[in-house]
């Protein structure tokens, strides 16, 4: 069993236009930038991206958004100006999801849980469907979010959320072996685990490809059974769009 690949373009060529992809990362921390870049170079289009952020600047998912390669974005923080222009021009659909619900829906997909109830968002516009999902080119709302089923548990209204299964996942790991076992570093684990679980086929760019056994059994953050393809990451991000500021 050897899941190590060497040619990123060849590896990702199996992703068809129109595919759905779960993408790890929070902002740019742990974001699989090399894999996103490769999708751009392969000129993939009409993608449904499931990720926390639509990208703050034209990097990672931000680049895919900027280049107009998205037909739909599902996530909690699509605060990317370019993305919003496209959204209000009717060129992309938005499914806005609370962040915890997003993570749980991605995990559920990989865990064989088709749906779950959560109190998060109950009664809000994101649950009642009173929020736009798509505009036309004149800026009129032509589609709203789906209203969610509500059921009361322990006196508390909860909404039914469904699993977010994706055709593929793009993940960045700190260490990976040929079996696909993954270990992450500090705050870069974030959405990479739920994304890897959500994807039917999961691609991993790894900062370090290590020998089998180098990741101790107890240190594996995600077992290789969730991973299909691993490739050496050639870079990562170096700049931070938000320089360390006085506001902290």
């Amino acid at each position: 069993m050897d899941k190590i690949r060497t040619d990123v373009l060849e590896m990702l060529s199996i992703v068809p236009d129109g595919a759905s992809l779960a993408v790890g990362g929070f902002g740019l921390t742990g974001a699989p930038i090399m894999l996103c870049d490769a999708l751009c170079e392969l000129d993939k289009r009409d993608l449904h991206i499931v990720a926390n952020n639509a990208g703050i600047d034209p990097t990672g998912v931000g680049r895919l958004a900027q280049e107009g390669r998205l037909r739909k974005f599902t996530g909690s923080f699509p605060s990317n100006k370019n993305f919003f222009s496209l959204f209000h021009e009717g060129r992309v659909e938005l499914e806005l999801v609370p962040q915890g619900t997003l993570a749980e829906r991605m995990r559920a997909a990989g865990a064989g849980i088709p749906a779950f109830y959560t109190p998060t968002g109950a009664g809000t516009d994101l649950a009642t469907g009173n929020y736009p999902a798509r505009y036309d080119s004149d800026g009129n709302v032509v589609q709203w979010l789906e209203p969610k089923d509500v059921r009361v548990f322990n006196g508390r209204p909860c909404v039914l959320e469904t699993a977010l299964a994706c055709d593929f996942a793009l993940v960045k790991a700190h260490r990976a072996d040929r079996l696909g076992n993954l270990a992450f570093r500090l705050g870069s684990r974030n959405f990479n685990v739920p994304a890897a679980m959500a994807g039917a086929v999961t691609f991993v760019e790894a900062q370090n490809i290590v020998e089998v056994g180098a990741i101790e059994p107890d240190a594996v953050h995600l077992p290789g059974v969730f991973v299909q393809h691993v490739i050496q990451s050639t870079g990562g991000w170096v700049g931070n769009p938000n320089p360390p500021g006085a506001s902290w």
């Binding site: 921390t29 699509p78 998060t120 009173n130 705050g187």
Partner: protein, 219 residues
Amino acid sequence: MSVDERIGWSRDGLAQRAADDVPDGAYVNLGIGIPMMIPSRLPEGREVWFHTENGILGLGGVPEPDQIDLDVQNAGKEYATMVEGASTFDSSLSFAIVRGGHLDIAVLGGMQVTPSGDLANWTAPGRTPGVGGAMDLVTGAKQVWVVLDHTDRAGKAKLMRRCTLPLTGARCVTRIYSTLGVFEPAGAHFDCLELAPGVDEQTVRGLTDAEVVFAGGGR
């Protein structure tokens, strides 16, 4: 009447006032903005555990330039540090902590808050909305504190009878730290627990779009 006109607490003073009330041993999540100024203002010797949505429990303050680690940021995507005893986890466990009721306090910014504890803070006309973890936090944390200017830049009240903006959560706010004082939603009115220095009851009444009951008994 905005914070820039310096009635009541400054941003610093507001962060300090909220920090004073964070109990020893608490697990706390901080929203973007003024709440993120709390850690560096905690009274000496108080051990508070800061949780961040992106998967760290035990967040510390701002790193020195030579300490910056690309893998350590807060939920506002600013560089941060980790304290000894910190732990890291993925986003689904991070929100299991939030939703499961394991956080003592979520300190959030706010656009509008009502006497029944309704909060609006995730979107407004002309803003690019990002809901992030706000709806999870107001649902899951044992206490929800809101830290805000008492009025918006146009001088309109943010403490008001009914939210006109889309709700983040209903009946979720337990405490309000505004530039003018400390308040609690009490159902049909706000209880004012404390006035900021130099602020009088009449000023608060004039800048609040709901009944306010003062600790001294005044209304």
